[in-house]
Amino acid sequence: MNLARRDILKLGLTGAALATLPIGVLVPDRSAHAAYPEAVFKEKDLDKALQDLFGTSDIPAGDIKIKAPDIAENGAVVPVSVSTSIGGVESITLLVKENPSPLVAHFELNPRADGYIATRIKMGKTSPVIAVVKADGKLYSASKTVKVTIGGCGG
């Protein structure tokens, strides 16, 4: 199953075909999880990255809470958490629009896992931090702008 899915991804199918593929679904039968999206991590354009991952960059807003500071103390270590009460969460994806490569992280979650992850990220400058949640095959997004400043005490 996984091999066929990788081949389809290489062919660059978009839209419906990709949307129906079980990308990033962790099933409790120990099958291999999705391949590391090498190319998407290098993608410099936010919309392109979203299209590569989900087949679309037009993702509606959903009930997702992004906890991140309004002004980051230090752009190298910005604590971020994403939580959602939407059921059936399969994956949570984090992107920072203004980073050299917007895709920051992609988390695949088992059905037993809460729609919640927390981590610490690097931000090059002030930017929206975007979370995309995939649940029951549907996509939802949220965004929060985090400011990154130059300190006075030598940065």
């Binding site: 270590v77 920051v104 695949e108 981590t119």
Partner: protein, 105 residues
């Protein structure tokens, strides 16, 4: 194989197992220059973190260079009991890896 790079805490809280992990890793972006030589320091970062509960994958993280140095990850899931085993394993872009097992408390 790296050693002793992972610290993990797994506790039952409100019926869920809350896992917090801290990993020692440079997470070098490949964009920084060595101040002395002027050359770019090559990218060195964790690509994948696989988190298992009693042998079953609960969370798989795909990371890029924008995850902070000495990365932190937290997630929660149901269906765990005290005494269960949590395993955290990472692999990086240089092919290095480490893993640790911890008991749910």
């Amino acid at each position: 194989m790296a050693k002793n790079t992972i610290k993990v805490r797994a506790k039952i809280k409100g019926g869920k197992c809350v896992v917090k992990t801290l990993i020692k890793h440079p997470m070098e972006t490949g964009l920084r220059k060595d101040k002395k030589t002027g050359k770019k320091i090559p990218a060195h970062f964790i690509k994948e973190v696989v988190c298992e509960h009693n042998g079953e994958k609960v969370c798989v993280a795909n990371w890029g260079v924008a995850i902070s140095k000495n990365p932190y990850l937290s997630f929660r899931f149901s269906g765990a009991n005290k005494g269960d085993t949590i395993k955290i394993a990472w692999t990086d872009n240089k092919g290095d890896s480490d893993s640790i097992e911890a008991t749910v408390s």
